[in-house]
Amino acid sequence: MTTTSFEFAIFTLVTLVLYYVVSRKMQNQILLIASYIFLISWNIQFAIVFLILTVVNFTAAQFIARKGKRSKLALYTGIAFNIAALVFFKYADFFVPSVVGFLQQIGITQVEDGLRILLPLGLSFFIVQTISYLLDVNRGITVPASSFVQFAVYMVYFPRVISGPIERYREFQPLLQETRNFDRANLDIAFILILQGLVRKVVIANLLFLLVPLNIFSQPGLYQPPHLALWLLVYTFALYNDFAGYTLLARGVSALFGIPLSANFNAPYTAQGFSDFWQRWHITLSNWLRDYIFMPVTRNLLRRKFSRNHAVSIVLPPMTTMFVSALWHSASLNMLIWGGMHGVYLVAERGLTLARPVKRNQSAPKWRQYASVLIVFILVALAWVPFRTALPEAITYWSILLSPASWLDALRNFSAIRGQVLNRYTLDAIVLITISILLDFAHLRLGEQALQRFPVLVQAIIINMVILALIIASIAQNRPPAFVYQGF
């Protein structure tokens, strides 16, 4: 049951009614039952895996807290167990054929279906939460959960179990202890978040993904630079709106239950630098990487007297952080290249800032600010190529896209490809991208609840236009694309 499906809407409505009918003490139980029903709707294996991991981590944290300073072994064992689970499920596809082959050789046949191991949806998100939980308990920042129900809700809370946002237990747990009553304020917040989420996901992202040629990333050699540039631009905005839309939906649904979730995006394509970009894109994962990878590595280097200007201090923290980020997404070579590119961007940016006094963001001339935004956008977009496709195809993509000779050729023969580049689909893409930019602009200027700032009549017109756009977009999609990030 996907978050944009009719079934999910009914499921949420039923859960909501039960949630507000029962006593406060039972609300968390309702959320837990609903969350496992949601998991089972995908595959019962997911529910079993998450239940086992929840029990193990709940127990491990209590053991770590009891042992105090002697808990390092328990901590490392707990973290290793979680990582092993992630590795096992992410790479099960690799070794199942070998196991099947071996069993068939020794006469055990017809086992392949039984051995099929599915990667539980949202496992990567689940595991980073368990690791941060164990680390925080070990550091004494978080008191281990005394209520298994509360901890289990934290781990599998259905609005965000598939693709985040990633929450810290110490910030989420108090929300589960508060009394949550149905009120108009929550409803308003929820409505606006859900509306924005549906626009970004169903209208902008899904339609943009449908426009992108099916083989542009798998067979880039068939295309000319203008095609590759155009569809990379489209993909860049499609990916952003897909993920941002999902997060807004998750937050909106959660707001209906009186549980606010963290924002995950803040107009990332307006970033003027790469550090800035990572404070705007997938914010909860960026914060996790900063707190558990970047900061410890940096602080340890500084304590060991590697000065800020030392090459090791400049290179090691961002490269380590971005490689971990890449591995979190997938341990493929193309993903490591994606992470490596962003690591290099951060290293270069750090090197440049060390060479001169720091200036406030808004003190640079406007042209320089816009130029910074454009440069960051182009470099981020180029890095999306290996994020999206395997390395050989990514290299082909870049080699054509960045080849001056290929561009000259394409421009000389532009009349031959004009119809493929400048057509109705391009116009559709431009309109959708413009809507995305306008939404970001409104978000930056007016805040997340921008809609409420307009007069009621204007709000009504906007809402009706959105509903119309949703209907048109839904009709245009026979099979809507799945959330990209639910695959991680």
Binding site: D136, R139, I141, R168, Q272, G273, S275, D276, Q279, N287, R290, D291, Y292, F294, M295, P296, T298, R299, L302, R303, R308, P317, R350, T353, R356, P357, V358, K359, R360, N361, Q362
Partner: protein, 83 residues
């Protein structure tokens, strides 16, 4: 240690070592992170400086824009952990 001493020590450190402009007029309530004056690298340096200068450990998860964005917030946090 006196609050004024802590404040001026931190202010001078931030201006000289992190912003690298000793003449910068750093306000007590000015957004240092939101203004782009310091980033995560600099926050780590700040944390290590506070450890060595004041013997105060600030956890990584507290080195955030919500908790460490202004000089006022930094001073309050250091004084709190010194007590």
């Amino acid at each position: 240690m006196d609050e004024k001493v802590v404040r001026e020590t931190l202010r001078n450190y931030i201006k000289k070592e992190l912003i690298r402009d000793p003449k910068y007029n750093l306000g007590d309530t000015e957004g240092i992170i939101t203004g782009g004056l310091i980033d995560s690298f600099s926050l780590a340096e700040f944390a290590v400086f506070v450890e060595s200068e004041f013997n105060v450990y600030i956890p990584d998860s507290d080195l955030t824009v919500t908790k460490m964005n202004t000089l006022d917030q930094m001073v309050t946090r250091v004084l709190l952990d010194m007590k």
